[in-house]
Structure formats: C-alpha cells, structure tokens
C-alpha cells in the first residue's frame, strides 16, 4: 500500500500525454471519415457539374421558306426528286435573312454549320409527309450543330475547345440575343437511341436494353436463389456435398465480374451458339453473378425466422415442405426481397462482363425483344465516356445521373421494404 500513492502520482503524470494520444487517435478516425465523405461529395459534384448540361439541348428556330426553286424540288411526292433535292438551301436562306452581309460559298458553308446535320432531313421528312407545304413559310425548330451547342453551353469552360470561327461566334451571339438560338430541356435524351452526333443521341434504347436484361436476370436469379437458399437452410443434409456447395457459393460471390463475361462468351455464345449483344445472354450472365448474392441474403433471412414457428407448424402435423412453403418462406420474404433488390441494383450497374458478350454494339434503335441486339445503360455511359467527341462527355454524365437515380431508388426501396415489412422477433 505504501507505494500506492506514488503510483497514483505516476498515473496522474502520464495522463496528459495519454489524453493527447487519445485525441489524436480520435482525429485520425474523423479524418478518415472526412476523406471518405469528401470523396463522395467530390464525385457527385463533379458528375453533376459535368452532366447537368446534358439535360439541355440547343435549338435554332427559323422561319423557313420551303421554296421549290431553291431546293430544286417540284414534286415532293416523287422519290427521285426528293433524293436529289437540296434541303439545306432554305435553312441557309433563312439564316441569311438575319445576316444579309454573309455571302459567298464559304459564308454559306459556315452558316449551314450552325444547325445540326439532321436539320435538312427534318425538312425532307416534313415535305414527304405534307407535300402541299411546298412553297409556304414554316417556323421550324432545328437542333443546333454540336459545335454551336458546345459554344453556347461551355464558352467559358477551359476544358472545352470552341470549334467555331470568329464570324460564327458573332452570329451565334447575335442569334442568342434575338432568341433564335435557345436552350431547353433535352427531350431527345429520353426519346432516342445512340447517335454519331451528341445532339441527337439519347439513352432510351440503353434504358430499354437495361430493363430487358434486368428482367431476364430477375426471372432467373430470384427463384433459383431463393430455392437454393431454402434447400441449404431447410433440407440439406450435413455432408461434404453440402459443404462443397457452400464453399462454391461463397467463392462465386467474390469472383471478379469479368470472369463471368468469359463464362458467357465461352459457354452461351461459343458452346450454345447464342447470338451476341442480346439481352437474353446479358441477363443470363448477370443472373449467374447475382445468384450467389441472393442465396446469401436469403439464407440470412431464413435463419432469422425463429425455430418456434417451425416447431409450431410441425407440431400440428405439417410436412417439412409445408412448413417451409407456408411459414418459413413467407416470413423470410421481406429479407429475401431486400437482398434481391440490392443484388439487382448491383447487376444494373455492371459493365465489364457485358463488354465481353458484345453488348458494346452501336445501338440506334430501341430493342424490341429479348433476342434483339441491345446495349445497357452502364455500357452506353462507357461508350460515351471513351468517345473523342466533347459533346458526349456531358451525355455520359447525364446518363450517370439517370443510372444513379435508378440505383439509389432501388436501394431506397429495399430499405423502405425492410423497415416496412421486416418483423422483429
């Protein structure tokens, strides 16, 4: 006891140093969390900053005189004449009314490049559909050329290079003041497929492709995953085969996704001769990837059903299968659904395996079936992100925002479902 008070003294003296360490350790923890959250914030800010302009389109509204003489077109019902006619001429003419000083073929070319290359075909389509409009004056809204769009949206952003001549820039400035060139909500993004031109490209076909692929994935992986989980939890005997199956499931959950792409390429395409780039194969590959996730979460859900429920049902003479199908599975369903939604969200964002089975094709049309060539949203984002054209970057960011919206809503749904349906025992 005699040395006890001296020891208390020693402890007391060490305290300051030790509390400094304690504070420092705590700071490390806070710093680590700050780093993680800051990364998340920068990531989102960067994508939104790059991509919100993807939701804007630049349009040029012109009073176009559909004059047969300038177009070399007399009879719009004659396909040969349509094929030979010059539909750019009325656009140039309409622009010249704003800039009478622009003359000569060089100026005409520059004027024509203010509108996108689909503008001429817009006029053609209009005349083909309504031949009697020939000779009238129509107010038409055209998509601006990509270079104009970049100039309008990103003139002061150093990351973008403006590819307009001095003269064109002046014209665009003037037209913007007059309200001829405007920006508006980019409905094309949601109503069209991919295109060589950023202004005309959309994510609709990719979204439909994703939905078709997810449908296949869900239809296969959910029943199989749940059935496998039920077997392993309720029926599997304790033997080496069961152990082996379990080891396989745990390992598959951690196999890199690109390996599943190799599997799809070699087995579904190589061995079974299934077509490339189709949602069915993509969905199958993603299903194989998702099954282990669903099995693992479904098993956890089944485990959480208390044994008393099983005993109660067995006690009144229900067979094992009846106990499982009538009591265990319904009670575990919320947990199973939650796990499956999270697994599906992962599959929705998956890219690498789909690259290998050829879902990187350039898809303009909306796919209309499971066996129709398609691409999916993340692959579309990848394609745009690796494109040289500047206008695609903002589209890729916009696509990312759409993808993230999907994923976050799916996860929110899972959380809501868990809170709503899961009971505590």
């Amino acid at each position: 006891m005699s040395n006890s008070s001296s020891q208390v003294e020693i402890v007391r003296q060490s305290l300051r140093r030790r509390y400094r360490k304690e504070r420092r350790f705590r700071m490390y923890g806070i710093a680590a969390i700050a780093v993680a959250l800051l990364s998340l914030f920068i990531l989102f800010a960067d994508i939104i900053g790059k991509g919100y302009t993807g939701f804007l389109k630049t349009t040029v509204t012109l009073e176009v005189e559909l004059d047969g003489d300038t177009m070399y077109l007399e009879d719009p019902t004659n396909p040969d004449e349509i094929a030979m006619a010059d539909f750019t001429a009325p656009i140039i003419a309409a622009l010249q009314t704003h800039f009478p000083e622009a003359e000569g073929s060089a100026a005409n070319r520059e004027l024509a490049r203010l509108v996108g290359s689909y503008a001429a075909s817009d006029i053609r389509d209009l005349l083909e559909a309504n031949p009697d409009l020939l000779g009238t004056i129509q107010t038409m809204e055209f998509l601006a050329h990509d270079t104009v769009s970049v100039y309008v949206k990103h003139a002061d952003n150093p990351r973008y290079t403006v590819r307009l001549s001095e003269r064109q820039q002046q014209w665009v400035d003037e037209l913007m003041e007059k309200g001829v060139i405007e920006t508006g909500f980019n409905d094309i993004l949601f109503s069209k497929g991919d295109s060589r031109e950023p202004a005309n490209a959309g994510i609709l076909s990719a979204i439909v492709g994703s939905l078709l692929t997810m449908f296949v994935t869900l239809v296969i992986s959910f029943p199989v995953g749940v059935a496998a989980a039920v077997y392993l939890e309720e029926f599997a005997p304790q033997n080496r085969l069961t152990d082996f199956i379990e080891v396989n499931i745990n390992n598959l959950a951690a196999v890199p996704s690109i390996i599943f792409g190799l599997l799809g390429l070699a087995v579904f395409i190589g061995l079974f001769g299934m077509p490339r780039s189709v949602p069915v194969v993509g969905g199958l590959v993603l299903a194989l990837m998702t099954v282990p996730t669903i099995i693992i979460s479904s098993r956890a859900a089944i485990k959480s059903v208390p044994p008393s429920i099983r005993e109660a049902a067995e006690g009144i003479g229900a067979s094992r299968m009846q106990v499982v199908l009538h009591h265990v599975v319904p009670l575990a369903m919320p947990g199973m659904l939650t796990g499956s939604i999270i697994g599906m969200a992962q599959a929705l964002g998956e890219t690498a395996p789909l690259l290998l089975i050829g879902m990187v094709a350039f898809i303009v049309d909306v796919p209309d079936g499971l066996f129709d060539a398609a691409t999916v949203l993340p692959v579309q984002i990848y394609l745009w992100a690796s494109s040289a054209e500047q206008g695609f970057i903002e589209l890729a960011s916009a696509g990312i925002m759409v993808l993230l919206t999907f994923m976050i809503s799916m996860n929110a749904l899972a959380i809501w479902l868990r809170k709503r349906l899961e009971r505590r025992w």
Partner: protein
C-alpha cells in the same frame, strides 16, 4: 414459335393443368364424401399436374434452344461442297455469317456464289422447320404430362409425397447450380488456355517481361504472334491494387473504428449509409471519374511541380479504386471489431486504459486476423476490378513502379482483347482466356484464404 413466346406458353399450359387437376380431384372426392377422403389435398394433385407438365416441357425447350444453333450449323456446313470446307474456325465463322446474312436477306442472294445461296436456302428452311418441330414437341410433351397427371388423380394416390420430393429435387438442383457455375468458369477458361499454351510456351507466358499481343499484322509474319509475357501486366495490376489498398485500408479501418467505438448512435446512422452509398456506385461511374477528372488533375498537378506524368496514370486509377473499396474495408472491419466480446473492452477499461489504448492494444490485436481476412478480400476485389482500369489506366504494358506512369492490368487486357471483332483462334484471342485463368486462380486463392481466416476468427469468439 420463338423460345421467348414458347416459355410463357408452357407456363400457361401448366397453370391450366393445375386448374384441371384441381377440379378433377374435387370431383373425385365428392362422391366419397369430401376432400378428406383423398390421400392428399386437391392442391397437391393440382401442383403435381403443373410440375409434370411444365418440367419436361421446359427441359425440352431449354435443350432444343441450346443446341439447335450448333446442329443446324453443322448440317448447313456439311451441305457445302467439300472444296469449300473451311480449314480454320476463323474462316468457318466468316463463311457462316456470310450464309446467314444471305438467308436473312441483308446480303443480296444474287451476289453470293451458288453453293452459298443454296446453303442459305437450306439454313432458312432448317430454321423454320426446327422452330416448328420445337413448338410441336414442347406443346405435345407439356400436354402429355398434364394428361398423365390428370388421369393419376385418384383417392388412393398420395400426390403430396411426389410433389414434395420433386420440389426438393428442384431446390437441390438450384443449390447445385453454384457448383455448375464454378465448373462452367473452369471449363470455359481451361480449354482455351490449353490451346494457348500449345502455341505460346507456358514459361514464356509466366516469366516473359514483354507484352504486345497486338503486333500480329500479317499471319505469315515471323513471330507474328507477338509477345505474351505476363510480368508487366502483373506488376501493373499489383501497382494499382497496392495504391488502392494504401488508400482504402487506413481510411476504411479508421472510419470503422471511429464509428463503432466513438461515434454516437445518430452520427453512426447517418454516416454509415453514406459510406455504403460509395459501395453502391457502379464501377463505370468511378471509371468516368478517374479518367476524366482525377487523371487530368494529377497530370496537371505533377506538371506544376515539374514531374512528368502520363495522362493515364496508375495513381489516378489506384486512388479512385481505393475510394471504391473504402466501404468494403470499413464494413468488414466493423463486423470484425464488433465481434470482439464486450468483456475484453470492459477488462481493459477497468484497468484504467483509455479508449484508444483499449482499441490499439486489446481490440485491434484480437481482431487482427479478421481484419487481415477483410484486407485479402479487398485485395482480391482490387485485382479483379475492370472498368476503372479499362477507362483510366492505359494499354501500354510498361514494366514500371512509377505511379505517375501509365500501366496496364490483367483485366484491361482481357477486356480489350475480347471486345469487338475477334480473330478466332489467334494466340491473341486465346491469351485473354489464359489471363482469365490466371485472374481466376489468383482471386480464388485470395478468397479461399480470406474466408478461411475470417471463419476461424469468428469461431474463436463463437
């Protein structure tokens, strides 16, 4: 009829079978004095009818769809005159696509040679016939199964047992699918890998220090197959994974410690979902971020301090990959730290240890094996990650340890070698499968080891 339409049709037929059998069992039971005089419930008879009609139908449908393409191809190729038989799989696929293009009408039949036009016509009829036969066969089998079950609705037959046994077997098959997938993976990489090693010696592959599979311009060129030394890919993968782990392990571990030991309930319940959000972001988004934001930023930064950096640096890919793995490390560490019994914390605190002393000297050492397991899993994930490196790391197989240089990885090479049009059967294409095999073996070994460690650790604390 197409598989896509036939599949729901089979299900509808099975539903009809269910209903019919249900009605019949009630009809059979009625004169006996009610359902309780049957050996099983009406739903059991009905379920048996549905199973007996749907299962054989679906099996036939799956087999037919799976093999019809190959069989038809074989017949069509066989119909060609002998001198046109292709001598390599590459030519065969070229010929096939030509024939099918003619058959589908996208290539003008008049432009094709006569045997090809003939083959195309044959292909067309075979496809139509196959589709017709499949439809007839599947519907027939489905209906037969249903009819058989319908006749077997009798009071003395215990349909419940057979339904339950069948269901149990189906469940087993679903569970065994995991083994089948693993076998499928092994099978799909091993065949091509063996063929690859027939062309490139395995020692050259494993110990070669140069990787340039793209050099094969002409087939008759000497050494046209390029160089297939995997070492630069391996070092590139390791460099990027090491950077990623260097970011993710301290950050993930320290945040897990802070959240589980210091943070209040409220803080924890807001920050944890945010961290998990990082894990939910698709890898293509990280790739975009790495390639278009982080990589240019690092290049500019390096240049401003006089260093030379590639526009696709290992550092950019590694950093972003690290951010991606943070939640992975933190949730695994969180599990492991929480598994350490409270009594150890109490024991240390009761001796007058501060919280950080308890953490560093008692809990962390106790949790170390589990944390190591988690880090191994994270490493396996970093090694297998594809999109970030495809987008942000380069294609040049540099043998370097400089994080500002551009390196390439195993996954990047697999993806680039197999995306787009492939030359069938070239060493270049086959090498992707050899890389896949290597990747599978390495990640499998890491996973098995990690799971073993984690399980052992869990058992230690029950």
């Amino acid at each position: 009829m197409q598989t896509a339409n036939l599949f729901p049709l089979v299900l509808i037929l099975a539903a009809v079978a269910y209903w019919l059998a249900f009605q019949r069992s009630r009809a059979v039971a009625a004169p006996l004095g009610g359902v309780r005089h049957l050996k099983a419930l009406p739903t059991h008879y009905a379920a048996r009818a549905a199973l007996w009609s749907a299962i054989p139908g679906l099996i036939v449908l799956a087999l037919w769809t799976g093999f019809e393409g190959k069989v038809i191809q074989g017949i069509v190729m066989g119909s060609l005159p002998q001198d046109m038989w292709p001598d390599s799989p590459g030519k065969a696929s070229l010929l096939l696509s030509q024939i099918s293009n003619v058959a589908s009408g996208s290539l003008d039949p008049d432009l094709a040679s006569e045997p090809i036009a003939k083959a195309a016509a044959l292909l067309k009829t075979l496809r139509e016939q196959s589709s017709l036969f499949m439809t007839i066969l599947v519907i027939l089998i489905t209906v037969l199964g249903a009819a058989f079950a319908w006749f077997r609705v009798a009071p003395h037959i215990n349909a419940r047992n057979s339904v339950e046994t069948t269901l149990r077997r189906i469940f087993f098959v679903c569970a065994a699918l995991a083994v089948l997938i693993t076998l499928g993976i092994v099978f799909s990489v091993i065949l091509e890998t063996v063929r690859f090693f027939g062309r490139v010696p395995i020692t050259d592959f494993l110990f070669g220090t140069s990787w340039s599979p793209q050099t094969a311009l002409r087939a008759d060129q000497v050494g046209a197959d390029g160089a297939f030394g995997v070492i630069p890919l391996f070092t590139g993968t390791l460099l990027i994974s090491a950077i990623a782990l260097l970011v993710a392990v301290p950050t993930g571990l320290l945040s897990a410690i802070y959240l589980s030991e210091y943070a209040g309930k409220k803080v924890r319940s807001t920050i944890k979902p945010l961290l998990e959000l990082l894990a939910g972001i698709p890898t293509v988004v990280y790739g975009f971020f790495a390639a278009l934001t982080v990589a240019p930023f690092i290049r500019d930064l390096a240049e401003s301090i006089g260093l030379e950096a590639s526009s696709q640096s290992a550092l950019a890919a590694g950093l972003v990959m690290g951010i991606m793995i943070i939640p992975f490390v933190s949730s695994l560490s969180d599990d492991v730290i929480n598994a350490v019994p409270q009594s150890l914390r109490d024991g240390s605190l009761a001796l007058g240890a501060t919280q950080s002393e308890t953490m560093k000297k008692v809990i962390f050492p106790a949790a170390l094996p589990g944390i190591m397991g988690g880090i191994l899993l994270a490493a396996s994930r970093a090694i297998g990650e594809t999109m970030i490196v495809v987008m942000a790391a380069g294609l040049a197989a540099n043998l370097t340890a400089n994080p500002l240089d551009s390196v390439t990885t195993v996954t990047v090479q697999i993806a680039t070698l197999l995306v787009g049009d492939q030359e069938f059967d070239s060493a270049k294409t086959l090498s992707a499968f050899a890389l896949g095999m290597l990747l599978f073996i390495v990640t499998l070994a890491l996973n098995v080891l990690a799971l073993k460690i984690v399980r052992k650790y869990r058992e230690q604390y029950e």
